[in-house]
């Protein structure tokens, strides 16, 4: 069961120009370490475009199938610095910029007040808000950046047509050889997965 939400595909169906494209072959393995072992063997056989599906992150799978490390950390750092800079700017601007210095279009006059003899702007009292805005922007970036890197939200995916895909979130461990792989051949690749002990080997189209 999958949710067919792909506009392009629906249109193609309506106008009768649908071309089925092979996405790859998928095979199921009994447990996490079988998946890692099979992934390593397939990679050693010369395949480069591999993926897996599992109900939890399987340790060692990224090395086994040659998945590079996530680079989300660098994106988050950039947003952390932006958050800190924004907070400093906010506190300096709102505290120190007197009337007549605000942009004319804002219609605002700032009203700097000396309270308790404290300076209008100082680095020390700006630390808490700076810290909070750094964290806030980093968190937004970590979550939405992660989703963007994963290509989510995506309601339709060719893998949804695989007969066992519903078990990828329950107890199934699947290895995928993608059609984009130069060594890919529906017959030979399926045979390789079967020889490694995979069940439910299927060629997935979509």
């Amino acid at each position: 069961m999958h949710i067919n939400f792909d506009l392009q595909k629906t249109l193609a169906k309506l106008f009768g120009s649908e071309k089925t494209k092979v996405y790859g072959v998928v095979g199921e393995f009994p447990d996490a370490h079988d998946l890692v072992k099979a992934g390593r063997t397939v990679k050693e056989a010369g395949y480069t475009k591999l993926d897996a599906m599992s109900p939890f992150p399987v340790h060692g799978i990224d090395d086994a199938i040659g998945n590079p490390h996530s680079n989300i950390g660098w994106i988050v750092i950039f947003f952390s610095v932006t958050g800190a800079a924004l907070a400093q700017l906010l506190q300096w601007y709102t505290g120190s910029v007197g009337p007549g210095k605000m942009p004319w279009w804002s219609g605002l006059g700032s009203y700097p007040l000396v309270i308790g003899g404290k300076p209008l702007y100082d680095f020390t009292f700006s630390i808490p808000v700076t810290f909070e805005l750094t964290v806030l922007l980093s968190a937004f970036c970590a979550v939405f950046g992660m989703l963007a890197l994963c290509g989510l939200p995506r309601l339709y995916h060719p893998l949804d047509t695989y007969s066992q895909s519903h078990r990828a979130t329950d107890d199934g461990f699947f290895l995928i050889i993608e059609a984009g792989d130069p060594k890919f051949d529906p017959e030979a690749s399926s045979q390789l997965l079967r020889s490694l002990g995979a069940r439910n080997v299927e060629v997935v189209e979509g």
Binding site: I3, M53, E132, L152, S165, T169
Partner: protein, 469 residues
């Protein structure tokens, strides 16, 4: 053979497996998902009874807030000299409750404490609900909550023609609490995504499937997605750890940066954070014991999980007790007459009853957890967790009210009494908290399915190795 190996391992007696019962991934999916999949017309009657009660209490909260807004802030009992009283006590109490969730999801994650996986989801949910309860008090104490956004957030406006005072810890508090609420929500949602996908894939009904397909954003558990997911989760844990420590520190600055005797102390930030974790764990314990029993989660939330939580209650409770002693010592050692008076007045003045309630609930109660027999007894931990929460509410009451009711000028002295609106509003927030918790237990997975499976995978691998030898 695997069975024998488990029975004869002496390590397992002191360190029992975290997932008990059937060692199948599917069993974990089943036990966590099935309570959410009961059709609406077959919901157990006791759930309706429970939400009927909590919903009525929530209605009480709505009535009190309506009355407050319609009449004015004078329906609350705070006045001169106790200008901060019931509302801020409740605010600090609820914010503190939330801290257990973030501690479990972030700090225990960084320390690689695998036992957190069975309890993090519901504790994080409690964080969100507690922050929602807390937010009501500062929002409504403005009297005109629909205009509060101009006063609390730096929004350009022609209403005031001026900006917030960033030198004041009150504005830091706005930033800290709103950031905390937002980040907790994001963290909770990220953890939920793979489990929402599990519910999607199990759904038989088409509408249900579509709802969860959209909610899970189309998560498929591919290795390419998991690597970004894990990296992002680690980053969220890394930034939530200083965040949770900062939130209650900044809450304590509201008091500590003032010149009121009893508030003006440097011990406040660590003391508030320890107290927050202490009360939060107690609240998680109370509700989790009920959820574990009603939803039959004994195989996933085992005695080991409960015992570990009791140990954290013992540690943080002892830190709180130590902080009380330090505060008293410094009041004497500082040589400041006002400071000395405040502390002697706390223990023996008009609010002595509140002070000694606080001491007996917070200092004595957790010490029972030194004994293994007591910290592994469910009735004992249930009762003690409730006592701790009563004590922690009184702690905030004592700090806030006793420091204010005696001013520098004896002519300004007074005695704070809450009004019926104060009391009903506080009871009402429990209605909000428990109603949200009941809805969460009914419709969402209360245990992080994918994370528990990760723990189970290690356990299965170890059993497999052992059987092979």
């Amino acid at each position: 053979m695997a069975d024998l190996a488990i029975k004869h391992n002496p390590l397992l007696e002191t360190n029992p497996p975290l997932v008990q019962g059937p060692q199948e991934y599917n069993a974990v999916t089943e036990v966590v998902s099935s309570p959410t999949e009961i059709p609406l017309n077959k919901t157990p009657l006791r759930w309706y009874i429970a939400i009927g009660i909590t919903g009525s209490i929530l209605g009480l909260m709505g009535a009190m807030l309506t009355y407050l807004v319609a009449t004015g802030i004078g329906v609350w009992g705070n006045n001169r000299p106790v200008g901060w009283a019931w509302d801020i006590t409740n605010f600090v109490f609820w914010i503190g409750i939330g801290h257990a969730g973030t501690l479990i999801s972030a700090i225990l994650f960084l320390f690689r404490q695998k036992w957190r996986t069975s309890i993090n989801r519901s504790a994080e949910a409690m964080t969100l609900f507690a922050v929602a309860c807390a937010a009501i008090f500062p929002l409504f104490h403005t009297g005109r909550p629909w205009r509060a956004a101009y006063w609390l957030f730096p929004m350009p406006n022609t209403d005031l023609n001026m900006w917030q005072n960033f030198r004041s810890p009150l504005i830091w508090d706005v930033f800290a609490v709103s950031t905390y609420g937002t980040v907790s929500l994001l963290f909770w949602f990220v953890g939920l995504v793979p489990d929402l996908a599990t519910l999607r894939d199990r759904a038989v009904d088409n509408v249900r499937k579509k709802i969860f397909a959209v909610a899970s954003l189309g998560w498929r558990g591919t290795a390419k997605a998991w690597r970004h997911y894990e990296a992002a989760y680690l980053i969220l844990a890394g930034i939530s750890t200083p965040l949770v420590l900062s939130v209650h520190s900044i809450v304590s600055f509201d008091f500590a940066t003032s010149v009121i005797p009893g508030w003006h102390t440097t011990i406040f930030p660590p003391y508030f954070v320890a107290g927050a974790v202490f009360s939060g764990f107690a609240m998680v314990m109370t509700l989790m014991l009920i959820a574990r029993w009603v939803m039959k989660l004994e195989n996933l939330i085992t005695m080991k999980h409960l015992e570990n939580m009791n140990k954290i209650i013992l540690v943080t409770g002892s830190i709180v007790g130590y902080a009380y002693a330090t505060e008293f010592f410094i009041a004497w050692y500082s040589g400041n007459a006002y400071e000395r008076f405040t502390f002697i007045n706390r223990a023996f003045g008009p609010y002595a009853w509140a002070y000694w309630t606080m001491i007996s609930c917070n200092v004595i109660t957790p010490q029972f957890f030194w004994f293994k027999k007591l910290r592994t007894s469910i009735p004992v931990m249930f009762v003690l967790s409730i006592i701790v929460n009563i004590g922690m509410w009184f702690e905030r009451f004592v700090i806030i009210v006793t420091s204010l009711h005696r001013d520098y000028l004896p002519s300004s002295w007074g005695y704070f009494r809450p009004t019926w609106v104060d009391i009903c509003l506080f009871i009402g927030t429990f209605g909000l908290f428990l109603t949200l918790f009941l809805l969460f237990c009914r419709f969402l997975p209360v245990i992080a399915i994918s994370e528990v499976k990760g723990v189970l995978a290690t356990q299965r691998h170890e059993a497999h190795e052992e059987a092979a030898h």
